[in-house]
């Protein structure tokens, strides 16, 4: 067969029916209309700036410096957010605690996403016994209350991992443990979503066309089907970040999470438990930061759900 362009009736003016926008551009246009989502984006950027930019204003040593003579001081011009039970500056601790909390949120979700995609893709694409096996595991894990699972694992692994040093800073090994635990206990929902997407997408004719031409299963899974599941994955993962931050807060609040002196918003709340009435600034600031983060991420997630909805053709 020779590849010659023969003159046959070209379509009149090649007029296309839709504007030349990629699916991502369309999604962005729709996302922008979602006011709460835009508000969430702005808030989240400010929170990231606060936690990571704040490090240029206050050093970590300052955050961990305790002046027992100035315990439980209310907010003042010197300590804007006040001081805690051993005289540390709460403003500086929320900055460094935020880094850890956000870090845990994002990395745990990264792990969750990888696990969820792998399990969901394999189960959905191959089906049959493999599917049954993987989904039974997921269901078994889902049927145990997450908080219980988190606590048992935190208790079991807690303190078994030594401190780690990254970029000249020292982290409690418990950070790694918490990330691993949150990642390992939250992938099931995503796996189910991905599996359902794969189940319906693999019946599509473009997959049959790829198989007819001899495309390998690996390529079909990762190049053909996976990109089409990005929308629900992104939405689910975004919302999971909020859940992971909350999960860290729960465990830390119960004293099983990240161990002091490494601060997180969660363990700051824990240490404020005894002073709920007498020193409300201890829990107010970290609590507000958790609330703002979780809310803004949820708004972004909602916005993305609408923006990435494949059924919606409108801009």
């Amino acid at each position: 067969m020779t590849a010659q362009t023969t003159s046959i009736t070209q379509l009149s003016a090649d007029d296309l029916t839709a504007p030349p926008l990629s699916l991502w551009q369309l999604a962005w246009l729709r996302f922008r209309r979602h006011k709460l989502a835009v508000f969430g984006c702005v808030t989240l950027v400010l929170l990231l700036l606060y936690s990571f930019g704040g490090a240029f204003v206050r050093t970590e040593a300052y955050a961990n410096f305790n002046d027992t003579s100035r315990r439980l001081e209310p907010p003042s011009s010197e300590h804007l957010f006040g001081t805690d039970s051993i005289g540390r500056d709460i403003l500086a601790r929320t900055i460094y605690g935020g880094q850890i909390s956000l870090f845990i949120g994002f990395v745990a979700v990264f792990i969750e996403t990888i696990l969820g995609i792998l399990v969901g893709a394999l189960a959905g694409y191959y089906g049959g016994k493999l599917d049954a096996f993987l989904m039974r595991i997921a269901e078994a894990l889902l049927s145990i209350p997450t908080i219980l699972l988190l606590l048992v694992m935190a208790k079991f692994f807690g303190g078994k991992i030594p401190e780690i040093h990254i970029a000249g800073r020292t982290f409690s090994g418990s950070v790694i443990v918490i990330i691993a635990i949150i990642g390992a206990t939250s992938w099931m929902y995503l796996a189910r979503i991905v599996r359902a997407e794969f189940l319906s997408l693999k019946e599509n004719e473009f997959i049959l066309a790829a198989r007819a031409t001899g495309t390998s299963n690996f390529q079909i899974i990762f190049y053909h089907i996976l990109p089409n599941t990005f929308a629900p994955i992104i939405v689910s993962s975004t919302l999971s970040v909020a859940n992971a931050i909350l999960a860290e807060a729960y465990i830390s609040f119960l004293g099983l999470g990240v161990q002091p002196p490494t601060a997180t918003w969660g363990n700051m709340l824990e240490s404020s438990a005894k002073y709920l009435d007498s020193a409300p600034w201890l829990w107010f600031f970290p609590g507000m930061l958790i609330l703002l983060t979780v809310l803004s991420i949820n708004f972004i997630g909602d916005g993305m759900r609408d923006a990435l909805d494949p059924r919606s053709r409108a801009i």
């Binding site: 067969m1 046959i8 379509l11 029916t17 504007p19 990629s22 031409t213 001899g214 390529q219």
Partner: protein
Amino acid sequence: MSDSTPLVEVKDLKKHFPVTRGIILQRKVGIVRAVDGVSFSIQRGETLGMVGESGCGKTTAGRTMLGLYPATSGSVTIDGEDILHARGKDQLAIRRKAQIIFQDPYASLNPRWSVNSIVSEPMRVHGLFASQKERAERAKDLLGLVGLSPHLLNRFPHEFSGGQRQRIGIARALASDPLFIVCDEPISALDVSIQAQVVNLLEKLQDQFGLTYLFVAHDLSMVRHICDRVAVMYLGIIVEVADRNELYEKPLHPYTQALLSAVPVPDPRKERERKRTILTGDVPSPINPPSGCRFHPRCPIAVERCKKETPEWREAAPGHWAACHLANG
């Protein structure tokens, strides 16, 4: 190459789907005999039409013969090679020779891929050109060939209309220089004015490259127009095969007769005079097909024998085969 050997030979192809209940302990509760022993051959450069009502197994037959669904039994050879039993490199080599075009122009193109990626995929899989650039050049040529402007190469499927998408699907099917293309209801989802464009394009390409088609469709008028020979399927089996004019003018099987009489003709005077054989009831379930001749419960002329004996597949006139006790050529 000798022209007497058919390019495509399908022998006793069967595709049964198990019907299962239960999630963990799956039990088989029945078998859908979607394709239940189908044999036919297609000559080089020929178009064989495959018609029948929905659920008769025509689409499953077309897909199973390319190995898209694992066949229950039977064999399919394309250009002398067995496509169903080959593995690895051999299978890839045969796949290059056989391609497929689908019905739904919206589901048959990956919405996340550009036209370039879609059309180049078969070339990439079969390692046809050295570089991506050469493949893109070839993809541009293919777009021209199917009547789309080459500068649309980097656009995405959602920007195209149904007819244009169908052209992209055809360009993809041509990309691996196939000998044989299964056209799986390629025009059913298109508007009347666009159907003719696509059909004419398929014919032009056939003339130009000597392609062989299996044209699966339910539109009997279009099948008469585009096909050289026509096979009629009912409940998983072929009940009649003949050259198109023979089949449309002298149908032997009562099912073919009923099917043809149901097709409306765009001519009001003729329509008023036409006598229709209106079949009663629906197509029975392929899970437990009727005994004897599968058509007997709906057949207007069935006799006692039809309920018991499976009619034999015989040549009633040269090249005209039918499976009916009462059909005499």
